[in-house]
Symmetry: C2
Subunit: 201 residues, 2 copies
């Protein structure tokens, strides 16, 4: 019997996935949480063996939760199950210690298989996503550029970004200009959008 923890902030999706997995004879959902920062504690108290983690969650992202799990409960294996198959997410997930990565777009049957493989110690990654992830390569952005670009996501002016980052306006413009060049965009808004869709920020 494989003991599963489910982490997804949408109660309906969480419950539905639980219903789906409980149909499998060899899988048992032993815990459900709706926040990333509840994952480690719940995994500990429920003695879960595999954690299904959504990326978008309050508290901690699924990626960060996987990192905590690796540090505090190394015998627990994480499987990222997310809506967005952004290239770059896969790499970050594996770097964070996740054992697998599937998108919510996969056939329902394959989820149980993925759980079994992860539980058996294998790594499982959506094949289509894996190639796309390798295509886009690692982030070309420096840490600072990524940070500034993140602040530019909401469409703020350069002055507002500079204030939030405690930097001069000119420096922000330089970082943004570098990011625009590296992403192949022509405005900072487009660069921010591209970087996000590639999982770079």
């Amino acid at each position: 019997m494989i003991r599963i923890l489910l982490a997804d902030d949408q109660a309906l999706v969480r419950g539905a996935l639980a219903a789906l997995l409980d149909l499998e004879a060899d899988i048992e959902v032993v815990a459900q949480v709706g926040r990333g920062d509840e994952v480690v504690a719940a995994a500990r108290s429920s003695a879960a063996q595999v954690c299904l983690l959504d990326i978008e969650m309050p508290g901690l992202t699924g990626l960060e939760a996987a990192e905590r799990l690796r540090a505090e409960l190394p015998e627990v294996r994480s499987l990222i199950v997310t809506t967005f198959g952004r290239p770059g997410y896969v790499r970050r997930a594996l770097d964070a210690g996740a054992a697998g990565f599937v998108v919510k777009d996969t056939p329902a049957r394959e989820l149980a298989d993925a759980v079994r493989r992860v539980h058996a110690g294998l790594r499982v990654v959506d094949p289509a996503l894996a190639t796309e992830s390798l295509m886009s390569g690692p982030s070309p952005l420096t840490a600072r550029e990524a940070e500034i670009l993140l602040l530019a996501l909401d469409g703020s002016t350069v002055a507002a970004i500079a204030a939030r980052a405690h930097l001069s306006v000119g420096t922000v413009r330089n970082h943004l200009s570098a990011a625009i060049g590296k992403t192949g965009a022509s405005t900072r808004a487009e660069a921010a959008r591209l970087a996000q869709s590639n999982g770079w920020i």
Copy 2:
């Protein structure tokens, strides 16, 4: 026995919701589709009574699908089940003829209840969402402003937007300026983001 059609582009979520609803004794999932433009045909051939529609779908949005259903199969009732509880979505959903609106964030139990109420001819709207929807009110944007703002979402320059909309650069700037004023933003990128999060575009 209530006959249900499920429309969601994420196969995993669709399958999981099906597993969840099939646990109910009086509910039967008779069809599943992954695209908005397959909803009407599938509803017709499966003789579904209630359609659960996600908003974000290829082909047609759930809102548009609800509109088609009302026109072609008026006896079928639609229930919008979506990830984003954006104020403004509720109003648009009800305008499109949907009988209910719930977010994926609701407890699993309530979904079956919502389905039963919709089937019984009642309207069901997430109470928290309903008040928020009334708070934000209807869209302040004119049709043209919303259209231009939609083109500005990806961070394009004004010139690029003008080319795509077949308008002069000056006109685009005017529409954007009006939209910026109405949304209380200070750049078009921020205005586009605000309008989207309010369900106005």
